[in-house]
Symmetry: C2
Subunit: 491 residues, 2 copies
């Protein structure tokens, strides 16, 4: 299969059919009309507009997200707009018999489901560029800009890029993903022309890339570099003070770069449509753990009660804190990862070189010249029976002393049972969840949880592989390719 | 016992009696006369002079070292002086029925034993200060200087300082010790006045101390600091270009400083006269190893054929190289020490957190942006079955791969069996000895050697204590003192 054939076959899957578009149009109209009369009934003077991927024509089949904005004039007080807008949204979801939930990203909105389509209803202001009143006031301008720059074939290229970033797990500007928004994908196509050219550019991106479509920083790129301290910078064409790629974390960016390099070397369907990892059995878990000789340790607890961005922000920071805690106490942490189904189970997972350490540890004391000399010596006196030294190396005192925690389980249990670990850097909402009860599980002790939670089972399976499933499949397929490549070099 | 009583009792032991002095004088005269007639018979025009501690009156009872110099005029060619001088020395030792051996430090000399007294016969030139022809030409000036500055009571203070430095193991400018020469001890008393004042000063020394008795660098101490890159600098009063303390290693210096601090806090006999460590039995060795939970690993081989300074220089550098080797391959080295009886057995001893490592190790690859990206990925391909990853952390690729050496024994045997380890930094003479056969011993495997070599047994015993025996005894005695000291501070 050629690249063109592959991309065409992907497009056949992700491009909405006329029937799909018809359905979305119908739902849009139904809701738009309902919102118009509802806001009128509430005396809220707003215009109801469709923005986002549906307005721009870049949505993916089976994956539509309808963004409906209630646009107000600046004269309407913020509180009135928000409360009235949300009230109208909730009412129409009720009337249309749709589920709904109030959400908050940078700004409050209502998310609902009508006829299997997700609909966000967002109150905002009609603002002039640069004079934004709320975080979402730019959206109409974004939609306008993309509509003016992309059409026809180019929209398909956006679809390919979105599907690709979804497939490799870097789509989404949420905290969990730290990846690429739809608007960012669209602008990359505007900038580079098509999907393949975008990947070619990305495969050459460096540690800091700046893309300035609007040319705002022409001749002053250093200024932009200083202003935007993110690994990827794409200056918003409708707002030179905003980096569209601000949410993209270095790791996510690098995964995208790696995927681009690999795809260009050998294009495979797996980037767009990765399979699930292999589900582990008790037997296969045991076998894999034994053959590796490293130790898995999981802190397992219930749901963290916070919206996803807060939840994931706190989970990531907690993960860093606990990793540092383990390392401070002498454990070698190879990897650390957080996982949660966001309602029932949360797990912080660590892979250690060893979960049990030697009885004694090396401890560096002060230099002999130091004022701390006597303190150190006297502190050491009482522990003489269970220790070695002190001796001098270079100009410092050294001793070997008994570790307070030899088993990582003792260490984690000791610090987490007090206030859920607040004192060692567990973040507030996570500490609350841990405070309601937690377990520290080691190696095969994970099986109980894996046996009742299939998603967690798959998470452990992928964790043990240690690489994203798309890369695993790609490496298997690409093995032959590498030899050829080496031969070319050798000649 | 007061400090004065303690020092007096030490002096009674180390100060030669009139009979001791008489005996040394007789031996001196006997040898001096023999050398005078022998050199005359050989037609070698030299004067025979006594220098060193006997001439200066700073020698210790039972520990005398007679330095006899054959002083030549500059007109005599070097070769003639050396060959004639050594020949005369050997003959008189033969005539007087003494053992002798030709030695070389910076300069050749003959060491012999007459009536239980060690005698060094050293050919040298009568040179003007600063115009030295051989490394030993300064000695007459050193003797002259000390004789002009120290007498009576002050000589006893030198004896105390010498005995103290011997007791704590820092006496000797040889490579093995890296410590204090007799001349350095004498100059410290010249500079500070007496033994206690020297220790008081030393207890306040910092990372770099400069003592300039002659005042050569008055107002230009920065220049001296630049010129002499040693932790302790004592400018030779007879040669401003020479640091008398050049041989003193940082560690030895710090041990002296520590001992000074401890002695001043609680003066004990142990500093002058430490007991031997406790000899271990097979049972006690086993018990101590088990209770520590660390691993001892020894590379054991035969004699290194070189004079002590070369031998120890190469042993120390080899120890550093092997320590680095172990650390490069993932072993955590807590301590490393070399030991040899200098004729039959040599041991390089390492204490490891663990001598067996996990099957997999974490390996950091290149950044995703790097040109090494494809090389890394292709190198990893063939090892996929036995490894984890690659995944991205920050901007780098990481993998977990199988260790080449899990057991430190395999690692050491692999690298030492080729050329005695030259390729991993084992120094020439040591590599030759290892090349003639070596063993890598772990923990209780050391017992066989310890059971037949009492000195080696004591070395292991002190190594397991991890502190010099004088400090061990002192800490036991001082325990009560510390609490008092803390109370004083608290008030």
């Amino acid at each position: 299969m050629t690249v063109e054939e592959l991309l065409n076959s992907i497009l056949r899957e992700v491009k909405p059919s006329p029937e799909d578009e018809q359905k979305v149009r119908e739902v849009s109209e139904k809701i738009t009309n309902a919102l118009k009369s509802e806001t009128k009934a509430l005396g809220l003077n707003v215009e109801v507009e469709i923005y986002g991927s549906v307005a721009k024509g870049t949505w993916l089949k089976g994956d539509v997200d309808l963004d409906i904005f209630l646009m107000a004039d600046k004269s309407i007080p913020r509180e009135e707009l928000i409360s009235g807008g949300l009230k109208a949204a909730k009412r129409i979801f009720e009337d249309l018999r749709g589920r709904w939930i109030e959400r908050y990203a940078d700004h409050p909105y209502v998310e609902g489901w009508i006829d299997g389509i997700r609909v966000d209803v967002v109150p905002c202001y009609r603002a002039e560029p640069g004079k934004w009143l709320t975080a979402v006031d730019r959206t109409p301008y974004h939609t306008e800009y993309i509509k003016s720059r992309l059409s026809g074939e180019a929209l398909d290229q956006v679809r390919l890029l979105k599907k690709f970033t979804k497939g490799i797990g870097v789509y989404g500007a949420d905290i969990k993903t730290g990846g690429f928004s739809g608007y960012l994908c669209e602008l990359l196509i505007v900038n580079y022309g098509d999907f393949i050219k975008t990947l070619e550019a990305a495969s050459k991106w460096g540690r800091r890339t700046i893309i300035d479509i609007g040319g705002y920083y022409r001749g002053r790129l250093g200024e932009a570099k200083k202003k935007f301290q993110h690994p990827l910078v794409l200056v918003d064409p409708v707002d030179s003070n905003r980096n569209v790629a601000a949410a993209v974390r270095l790791e996510t960016l690098c995964n995208f770069i790696m995927a681009s390099k690999c795809f260009l070397r050998k294009p495979l369907r797996v980037f767009f449509d990765p399979p699930k990892p292999v589900k582990l059995t008790e037997e296969s878990l045991k076998r894999r753990l034994e053959s590796r000789g490293l130790d898995l340790v999981a802190v397992s607890f219930g749901a963290v009660e916070a919206v996803p961005d807060v939840l994931w922000g706190q989970l990531y920071r907690t993960l860093d804190s606990l990793r540092a805690l383990l390392e401070n106490w002498g454990f070698k942490v190879y990897r650390a990862k957080a996982w949660t189904d966001e309602h029932g189970l949360t797990v912080l997972l660590f892979e250690l070189e060893s979960s049990i350490l030697s009885r004694l540890k090396l401890h560096m004391g002060p230099p002999v010249f130091s004022e701390e000399f006597w303190n150190f010596l006297s502190k050491h006196l009482g522990k003489r029976a269970a220790s070695t030294g002190p001796w001098i190396e270079g100009d410092r005192l050294f001793v070997e002393v008994e570790r307070r925690f030899r088993d990582v389980k003792d260490l984690l249990e000791y610090f987490l049972k007090v206030d859920g670990g607040i004192s060692v850097g567990v973040r507030g909402k996570v500490a609350e969840a841990i405070g309601r009860g937690f377990k520290v599980l080691k190696n095969t002790e994970l099986w109980n949880t894996m046996s009742v939670n299939a998603d967690f089972n798959l998470f452990i399976s992928e964790f043990l592989d240690g690489l994203p499933i798309w890369l695993k499949v790609w490496l298997e397929e690409a093995e032959a390719n590498f030899d050829e490549a080496r031969d070319v070099k050798a000649r």
